[in-house]
């Protein structure tokens, strides 16, 4: 087990409101997990909590995040700094915000290396060029000398992926790595991530709102709703037999299933904080039982948090 997140709880500092209500999922070495859900479900917050980047808006109030057996949530800042960027790579949504606008691209790659170990300048420069080239950036020798503003959005995101990989992490967390890119550029970046994770045998977490990304690039999926993982399992099993009503809805509204036009209404309010299944106000199968906390059904590789879940049933 590369990363084992257990019952992660986070609350907002301002009012103590729960933001993550017990998030659990696992990432297996060499496999890619898709963390999928709507805007506001807590996907990015989960990543921030694991990486110790919540402050000052929120804080962890419970749970564990075991990375190769060590609990990231209880690590000192100094230890966490040694893990972040070295053993865990991170790709954020906005590439341009990641890059330092006043430093040439190559120098940023070299700096990322030097933070974590002593480097020999010439070797580091060579490594920067090599990784740019393996990111599919043509003419890397010239490009390392360019400034971030001179790059196209697609190239910026390739550099961000290079930054995340340059210290050869064991785990890579990518938070909506293609948000805002055009569709052909999206596919190029996801193809690149996929190939590099496989080639380097890196475990991956891809955070996305798009179930298509999960279907096409991930091995496992964790579906989040209202600060919880409501279903997790291998992609093939979850797509073939989704056990949670929210997962079924997500799969049902994929654009390619709307081909006949129209489509059905979906969406709605979240429940007030409190007991019971958070999905129940939007669920068409909800009964009075749903006012009670739903159990985790399935417990094996495929599990869902629903009173009526039947794992493996057609």
């Amino acid at each position: 087990m590369l990363l084992d997140v257990q019952d992660l709880r986070v609350e907002r500092v301002a009012d103590g409101a729960p933001a993550l209500a017990g998030v659990s999922f696992r990432v297996v070495k060499g496999r890619i997990l898709g963390l999928v859900g709507e805007h506001g479900a807590g996907k990015s917050l989960t990543a921030s909590a694991i990486l110790g980047l919540l402050r000052p808006a929120a804080r962890v109030v419970g749970g564990r995040a075991l990375f190769e057996g060590q609990d990231l949530l209880r690590m000192s800042d100094a230890d966490l700094t040694r893990v972040r960027g070295a053993r865990i790579g991170f790709v954020v949504q906005s590439g341009h915000a990641t890059l330092d606008p006043s430093t040439r691209v190559g120098a940023q790659l070299i700096r990322a290396m030097s933070i974590h170990r002593p480097i020999v300048k010439a070797e580091a420069a060579w490594r920067a060029e090599t990784i740019m080239s393996s990111m599919g950036i043509p003419e890397p020798r010239q490009r390392v000398r360019e400034w971030p503003h001179e790059l196209t959005p697609g190239t910026v995101q390739r550099v961000v992926v290079a930054l995340a990989l340059i210290n050869e992490p064991q785990l890579l967390i990518a938070d909506e790595p293609t948000a805002g890119l055009d569709i052909t550029a999206q596919m190029q970046i996801l193809d690149l991530l996929h190939v590099e994770l496989r080639r380097r045998r890196i475990g991956g977490v891809i955070i996305t709102r798009d179930l298509g990304v999960v279907a096409q690039y991930c091995d496992d999926v964790a579906v989040m709703f209202a600060g919880q993982v409501v279903e997790q399992g291998p992609v093939a099993q979850v797509f073939a037999r989704p056990a949670h009503p929210f997962t079924r809805t997500l799969i049902g509204i994929m654009p390619d299933r709307l081909a006949t036009g129209g489509g059905r209404a979906y969406g709605g309010p979240l429940p007030e904080n409190g007991e019971g299944c958070p999905y129940r106000p939007r669920c068409d199968q909800a009964t009075e039982r749903c006012a009670m906390v739903p159990p985790l059904v399935g417990a094996g590789v495929h599990a869902a948090r629903c009173h009526f879940a039947r794992i493996g049933a057609a």
Binding site: G154, D182, L211, V213, G263, A265
Partner: protein, 323 residues
């Protein structure tokens, strides 16, 4: 069916002085009453210029813009203003467009105040009725843009555009920043408006964004239409290599299609770097030498489709999917 909005050989340039570049080149397009036209293109394809052209927010350098059959290409702004309640446009970034000091109610009401000779009570009733249709709650109507999420804000943005019951509604990437759920709701609303006879032009950066409601789809690349036709025909049998690539790039929740797609090299060039010949040739997997010299013009294929590709005429434009 009567034609509501029409572009005839419209060319548009954008940018300052010497750095002015062609955004649209000789575009022919029309949208009828009760029809949704989906315009698909990536960054720099000209889709925003096209959206703005339909409602004459940009003045074309060549060609003509028609609204309800009348030529409005050179109509002065003063007279255009009278049409502004009957042809409206919704921009992608609601947060940037809406006045942060106004409540949702005031924002939706404003176009009525400017354009319709009706009293305050009537305006209020109209906003209430529209809010119900948009599923905006009475409480939300009293909020200001800073207090609303992007999904809800876009509903306000659309509300402003339809409160005057326009004949032509143009939306520029209205669902790009929305969650799947909110996007689906908005598409449903557009389907309702179409049923009421509105002519709708909607842009998107991929086919999936417009396909659920679009009756016809036009694909733009570097300011030119590379393919245009009925949605069902394009989905079933895309003919232009770029349309095929866009369709295959759509990440379907379909495990059977995993990994099988057309991969394009590089990124769309900036308009100023456009090479002679077919604009798509540098990235086209099946381009031949002649594609780099002669620029194809949109040709009628069958009875109801236009495609700008030399190989389409010979029936050799279909690309097999690779892994």
């Amino acid at each position: 069916m009567s034609v509501m909005g029409e572009l005839r050989r419209v060319s548009v340039s954008v940018g300052p002085g010497e750095r002015r570049v062609a955004a649209l080149t000789r575009i022919d397009m029309q949208v009828e009453e009760g029809q949704v036209l989906g315009v698909v293109g990536e960054a720099g394809s000209g889709k925003t210029s096209l959206a703005r052209s339909f409602v004459r927010l940009v003045a074309p350098e060549g060609g003509a813009v028609l609204f309800e059959g009348s030529d409005i290409t050179t109509m002065p702004e003063r007279r255009l203003r009278r049409l502004r309640s009957r042809m409206t446009i919704v921009f992608r970034d609601a947060a940037a467009v809406l006045d942060p000091r106004m409540t949702a109610r005031a924002l939706i009401e404003e176009p009525l105040r400017l354009h319709a000779p009706v009293g305050a009570g009537e305006r209020r009733a109209a906003v209430d009725a529209l809010a119900e249709r948009l599923r905006l709650s009475p409480a939300e109507l009293e909020r200001r843009p800073g207090e609303m999420g992007i999904d809800r804000l876009q509903l306000v943005n659309v509300g402003r555009a339809i409160v005057t019951q326009p004949r032509l509604l143009v939306l520029d990437e209205p669902t790009r920043d929305l969650d799947v759920a909110a996007a689906a709701d908005l598409l449903n609303l557009l389907a309702e408006l179409r049923a009421g006879g509105m002519a709708i032009v909607m842009t998107g950066h991929d086919i999936a964004a417009v396909q659920p409601v679009a009756d016809r789809i036009a694909v733009l690349y570097l300011g030119e239409i590379v393919e245009e036709g009925a949605t069902a025909d394009i989905l079933r049998d895309a003919l232009h290599p770029y349309t095929q690539a866009l369709l295959s790039a759509h990440l379907a929740a379909d495990l059977a299609r995993r990994g099988r797609r057309i991969r394009l090299r590089g990124e769309p060039p900036a308009p100023e770097d456009r090479t002679p010949g077919c604009g798509f040739a540098p990235r086209c997997p099946i381009a031949e030498n002649r594609c780099r010299s002669g620029a194809p013009t949109p040709n009628q294929v069958g009875t109801d489709r236009r495609v700008a590709c030399l190989r389409v005429l010979e029936g050799t434009s279909r690309i097999p999917l690779s892994r």
